[in-house]
Amino acid sequence: MDKKSVFAESFALDNAAKDIVEIRRRIKYESELDKSFRDKIAKSAHGEKLYGCIQCGTCSAACPVSHYMDYTPRKIIQMVREGFKEEVLTSSTVWLCASCYACTVECPKGIKITDVMYALKRESILGNYYPKKSPASILANNFFNQVLNNGRNSEGPLLVKMYLKTNPFMLFKNMALGFKLWIRGRISLKTERIKDKKALKKLLQSVEDKSIYKAEVNSPALKEASAV
């Protein structure tokens, strides 16, 4: 077989495969990495210690949900360090993290992995990377708005809103559960509020004005929230 035909054959194969699976390039060129990402996350998570990860994998072993994640906590730390910004911010890992702190207390290098996950959640919302139909990110956003406006969280309305935005079917599925809670006086659809709502809003605003570091907000959901 001459050189040309080998090439043609593999090309044909590529095209055939394309119909079956989407072929994605798994490597990145140096020039495509976002080198500032690492510092941004380290700053947001209050820890340059992240630079000192030895890739031992203890965090992934301690994590109760790592086997569901597309990248395990160890991988995420390395990808953050290398600047795989998009991959990290669109990963399922960020929203599967239950904030159980198992990784953080076991890390031999004292890296606060849970805080890194929080920083990534924030980055993912701010930069508008978060999955729009994922209940976890919607819940975080709705919770934020509710507390911003009322000072307290009302579990009933919060969950109803979340299901309506993501998967109304889930609302029906969970209705029986909601009803059981309701007849036991454990949930209400009333919105809880603190007395001094105005003062709280002023307080939050004042901290924002005073902060040196201001985040760049790309998320329409968040813009809408702070506008109300």
């Binding site: 919770f143 036991r184 454990r186």
Partner: protein, 300 residues
């Protein structure tokens, strides 16, 4: 000593039975308390995921409010029964201590609303109060209905001991076990004490959350526990209210009584079940009541 009670949102809704039983036990043990006036949500997990600074402000406001309310008291002890609230309040204190710049910003903002953050309040979990301020011996003396023959699996959850372990061991906590030993129960030694139950993932991504709760319940049954006690509103909710969903999904039988540790303690102190919010549980803790009366469990 008097305590400031910080309920947080959940003890006023799904965790109402936690509030009722906690306060009933406080009364029975002669512990004085006042609820924090005009408290706001602590900031919690979901808030931290969106805006960390604001989460810290929210928590700091509560601490400052407590310091103001107790300005004439010698010590300000805030009791935060929800593990998430407890952890967030601690985290805020630590964060502000380590970051003077942020401390200055938050202090100045609080000043504008007439509050003074003095950073001297102590954040306490109720287990800590019972064990370290009251003591096992004192509690043992007040027990009128010993938990004889009851095998208790104490479940601490994550955030009671992680990432901060202020009053117990992080990997194998024992304080709740000590309380129940003092109340005459048999405690189950198991490895699931601090394993995550799935937290709010039960409401958002059930495929991931249900197996986590399942593992805990399954293990408790394997160790022949009669009751699982929790010290966090979300843990109790996940482990009790999703039992039918779990059973359906895994074709299994996880039925076991899951109640707040304050409810079980209250029963041992001879308090009325109704006062302890037992009626608000999804299912009556049948096994527990039977064994307490010297009978045999119905479901094993």
């Amino acid at each position: 000593m008097k305590y400031i009670y910080y309920p947080g949102c959940s003890l006023k809704s799904t965790g109402k039975l936690y509030e009722e039983s906690l306060l009933a036990v406080f009364d029975a043990l002669g512990i004085e308390y006042e609820e924090l006036k005009d408290w706001n949500c602590c900031g919690a997990t979901a808030y931290m995921a969106v805006d960390e600074k604001k989460a810290f402000v929210l928590a700091a406001r509560n601490i400052a409010l407590a310091e103001q309310q107790f300005k004439d008291e010698e010590e300000v002890n805030i009791v935060a029964p929800c593990s998430a609230c407890y952890m967030i309040l601690l985290k805020t204190q630590k964060f502000l201590e380590d970051n003077p710049e942020d401390m200055a910003v938050i202090k100045a903002a609080l000043k504008e609303s007439g509050l003074d953050y003095k950073a001297k309040a102590k954040i306490r979990h109720p287990i800590d109060v019972f064990i370290n301020d009251i003591g096992e011996q004192e509690i043992a003396k007040r027990i009128t209905k010993p938990l004889k023959g009851i095998r208790v699996a104490s479940y601490y959850g994550c955030q009671t001991v992680r990432p901060y372990s202020t009053f117990d061991d992080q990997r194998n906590p024992v304080t709740m076990d000590k309380l129940f030993k003092a109340a005459g129960a048999e405690v189950v030694d198991w490895t699931m004490k601090t394993r995550c139950c799935g937290a709010s993932l039960t409401g958002t991504i059930q495929e991931v959350a249900l197996p986590l709760s399942y593992i805990i319940l399954h293990e408790a049954k394997k160790r022949r526990a009669d009751v699982v006690t929790t010290a966090c509103s979300l843990c109790q909710f996940n482990l009790e209210c999703y039992q039918t969903n779990i059973d359906k999904k895994f074709k299994t039988d996880t039925k076991i009584d899951v109640i707040y540790f304050t409810q079980l303690l209250g029963l041992a102190l001879g308090l009325e079940p109704k006062k302890l919010g037992i009626n608000r549980l999804f299912a009556k803790p049948e096994n527990l009541f039977r064994i307490m009366e010297g009978g045999k469990p119905v479901y094993v």
